[in-house]
Amino acid sequence: MNKVLNINLGGYPFTIDDDGFEHLENYLDTIHSHFKKSDGYEEITSDIEARMAELFQEQLNGRSIVTIRIVETCIGIMGTPEEFGAEGLEEEDTFYEKTQAHSSGKQTNYQTGKKLFRDPDDSTVGGVCSGIAAYFGIEDPLWVRLLFVLGFFSGTIGLWAYIILWAIIPEAKSAGDRLAMKGETINVSNIGKIIEDEIDVFADKLDEIGSELGSKKKAPKKRRMVEEAPLRRGFLL
């Protein structure tokens, strides 16, 4: 099951899956920030959006809902701003350098650095500990949890601290938030990756719930392994 949204892309109405929408939005954001400093900014971006709409219609072929697969296929046909640069003309290269000088090379990555979020995918109570663990690059949120549990026993400070943190730290809701939580730079390619990961994890979870209804605890354990694998590798290197 998936939520759907109604959007207007380049003058065409579309019904699009929630995850597909997120993917598309991030893609268009990188396009917009890439051409922001260019002369024909509005024209180029609206042309690209209109073409995306046409590609969606071709891919839909009579079906009614734009899925994330369709979004991915169309982005593949259209290409990312990095790929346009390789095919553009000489003038574009100098223009490219100019914009890089202006925005110090950040035009395709619209968010850098870590942000503190609560992690809803790996939570015991409110996801505060796993969020903190992700923020400080601690491999296993268990250590942070132990610290808080010790805090609970040594007085009420631990408990109050947890409740206050729970209230003030925002939950990581979107794929972008989750990347920012782990400190990865967001661009079109890795946001695609995280969404794919999520689909796999979700499929795994469904299988597990289907096969053994009683043991709920196994599912989150598996999830943690999948999500932390890239982090751990980063530490070894």
Binding site: G11, G79, F84
Partner: protein
């Protein structure tokens, strides 16, 4: 020295020539340009075309008019300006010179094979 880079450089130069000459044949809208270019594999990613068209338009080589479409919102139809046509002639003569030069330079190589 990467082969891919050199190939991309070569493609860059002729892409502009091809786009202007396709548009000079008669007014056309971008998706049709893509269809024509796709068969020649000159454009790998479609997104490349749009900034290029806008730049050629801003340089006064192309112009466009909005036309109603039966299938959706109005479409932009591009046409070459007189400046664009003379620009194209310049490019064509350079291209012919280049073609001649390349044929001359590689003649012995292809004969030997």
């Amino acid at each position: 020295m990467k082969l891919e880079n050199t190939m991309a450089q070569m493609r860059k130069g002729v892409l502009e020539l091809c786009i202007i000459s396709i548009i000079a044949e008669g007014e056309i809208y971008p998706s049709e340009i893509i269809k024509k270019l796709r068969s020649s594999e000159l454009i790998v990613k479609e997104g490349t075309l749009y900034p290029l068209l806008t730049r050629l338009k801003n340089a006064g080589l192309l112009d466009y008019t909005w036309k109603e479409s039966t299938q959706g919102p109005p479409r932009k139809y591009y046409q070459a300006t007189s400046q664009g046509r003379s620009f194209l002639q310049g490019l064509m003569s350079t291209w012919e010179q280049l073609q001649h030069a390349v044929n001359q330079s590689t003649k012995n190589l292809t004969n030997n094979e």
